[in-house]
Symmetry: C2
Subunit: 388 residues, 2 copies
């Protein structure tokens, strides 16, 4: 009777995942029971006799309730040991095989301290990034180096102008990789130098965040290069590299730079409410657990299709209590404009990074002046809001 | 006029992606035009004057045709240089930011030789895996070590019995990570030893494939451990580690083991026809380009929801002409049973790996005998089919 484990001495500590399930009550309950098995033993449940595997390894339905006639919500708990206290396997338990089944969405998760303590989380977080940049009284302001096709010299000139104009953070567009017309090392060294030069003129502390998304076997080398070239942080498309690659960068004391996570590639997880992972859990909780200091996502009302409530839920995920895992900045971007600052300020308040790319070019040919206007506009809006 | 590049001397070689677009003709054409910009410059198109960026960096619509009143298909080409000849950026061009927009699905892609030559692809492929295993006349047969909760000693006993029974490949269940009750190194060394011991008795060449999905900073160490312990191959959930991590493992001459890719976590890409990546492109072309020698996916009619036509499309993706990139095995699994072998044989023929897990336990308590029956049944079915 091989299904009685030799020894299985688990702590009894469990983590909990909230799933949204599509279907009538019977179908939804079947899905919940299926999650308990599929995410753990992946084995015909009827072949597992009563005993330790069924009691300790199977997921456990902690609650089950109706959202409406065709949607239910289940809280399912798993023994912390199943995660192996490693991020890839933790994510695999949250949404591994069941990602291939319809009608299941991860809404949120709660990890007890025993499991949280396996993760360092973001190195800086909101507060650390404020100390690092020296900006305490207003949102942080970020722009992107683009369009693709420009040379490192030209991108460095853009960076110089943005920095002169008073922007706080300048990131590579996430499509800037190691192209022949814009090689990684030349771009990073030129842009970092340009930003430092501007800082010497302005007395400010603008930071350059190169895009570090690159092949697995050279990513760490690139991160070290960026650091030694004077980069102030890193951008990484964690969906492309794997979330745990971002985690390993964040944990690396030899790098020690703040990290912006980019949302590309994994949009399919959030395009349907009927399936996938919620905005809250993916761009909020998971990016944060995996070490991002700020999570970029497409703002509502821009050229993407996130709703305002989806964006608000991401904000919640960036700061919900997760023990020692620091709150991080939400970083809405994607087709934003200066004209929307008052409205965005009303929604986001101060604890946000505003990411404005193309619109800074739209205001006229003088990028320094355009950037100044952006900073002033945000400063004014913060003062106005505080005065009221 | 910063939008005129210093120098942009591209080869003119382009790769092509076929997208399925949701909407009436006008909407679908807007989506196609948007892809050309969003996947490259991410910049307001109206701010880019006629010139090199517009001509060489923007994607180009090569064809646009109606599938039905609300679905269109567009072939869009991109300069090969935009990929940087690196897998993460290539995938980013295929489906980066547009993954966050609704109504766009990657159907397939075609890479010219200049771009294909940047990738080694699978080290073994179908033919290499046949030479490696010595099985040439029938499908390869694979089972999985499960359920989670058993000790390394118990899993090794299972592996021993499967190997005695004549199975070709034995893989870890993909949820076996480095749990306290089943530590990676002990499991791998015990299971590898058990399979080698069985091989000495049978004279066969059964291979053990441990699950190598693990944190980014120890994955390579684990792979080396597995190799030195006598593993015959590796299983990796490429969606969790990043596809490029699998690519780097496949390319590593110090590892040189065949790789099975597991489909978990990234199911959200294929759950809707209206969005995401097709089965063909994700579990066929991309897994193959990223170095998998076999691509595991849930078989139709099992406990997952893939259709028969989706499964057939994956087979096509595993063997469509991709230059020097070897054809790989489709490896359908997930709730399969012995009773389905005749039907599956009719569908898949010989160029397949059959993955049967739980059902081998269902046939009775003697796993050696159950495995023997599985092998015999497949042998008989192949002979029967060849006789007709």
């Amino acid at each position: 009777v091989i299904f009685y484990p030799d020894h299985l001495d688990l702590s009894g500590e469990r983590f909990t995942v909230t799933y949204r399930l599509v279907g009538d009550e019977i179908t939804a309950m079947e899905r919940a029971k299926d999650i308990c098995v599929e995410q753990t033993v992946e084995f015909p449940a009827d072949l597992v006799p009563p005993g330790p595997i069924r009691e300790q390894i199977f997921g456990r339905i902690e609650s089950f309730s109706s959202l409406d006639d065709t949607h239910y919500q289940a809280e399912i708990s798993f023994a912390v040991e199943i995660s192996g206290f490693e991020l890839p396997q933790l994510i695999n338990v949250l949404f591994g095989n069941i990602s291939i089944k319809p009608g299941i969405r991860v809404e949120s998760f709660r990890l007890p301290q025993t499991l949280l303590s396996a993760f360092k989380g973001p190195r800086y977080g909101r507060q650390g990034l404020r100390v690092y940049t020296g900006i305490t009284h207003r949102p942080l302001l970020c722009t992107a180096l683009k369009p693709m096709g420009l040379s490192p010299r030209q991108l460095a000139e853009l960076a110089y102008q943005f920095a002169l104009g008073g922007i706080d953070l300048i990131k590579d567009d996430h499509g800037l990789a190691n192209q022949s017309f814009c090689p990684f090392e030349e771009r990073v060294s030129r842009c970092a130098e340009a930003v430092l030069r501007a800082n010497q003129e302005t007395g400010r502390r603008c930071m350059y965040f190169p895009n570090i998304t690159s092949p697995a076997d050279i990513l760490l080398k690139n991160a070290h290069y960026a650091r030694s070239a004077g980069a102030g942080g890193l951008v990484i498309t964690a969906g492309l590299t794997g979330l745990d690659t971002m985690r390993s960068l964040a944990d690396d004391d030899g790098i020690s730079l703040p990290i912006l996570s980019h949302p590309a590639f994994i949009g399919s997880f959030v395009t349907s409410e009927e399936q996938g992972i919620s905005h809250y859990a993916l761009y909020g909780q998971l990016m944060r657990l995996a070490g991002a200091d700020a999570s970029i996502y497409p703002n509502y009302g821009g050229r993407f299709s996130f709703s305002k409530s989806a964006c608000c839920s991401i904000i919640e995920g960036t700061c919900v209590d997760m023990g020692h895992i620091l709150p991080i900045f939400p970083a809405p971007g994607g087709g934003m404009s200066l004209g929307r600052i008052p409205e965005m300020n009303a929604c986001y308040g101060k604890e946000v990074i505003y990411l404005i790319g193309g619109d800074l070019h739209r205001q006229g040919p003088d990028l320094v002046e355009n950037t100044r206007r952006f900073v002033e506009k945000v400063e004014e809006e913060v003062k106005r809001a505080e005065g009221t």
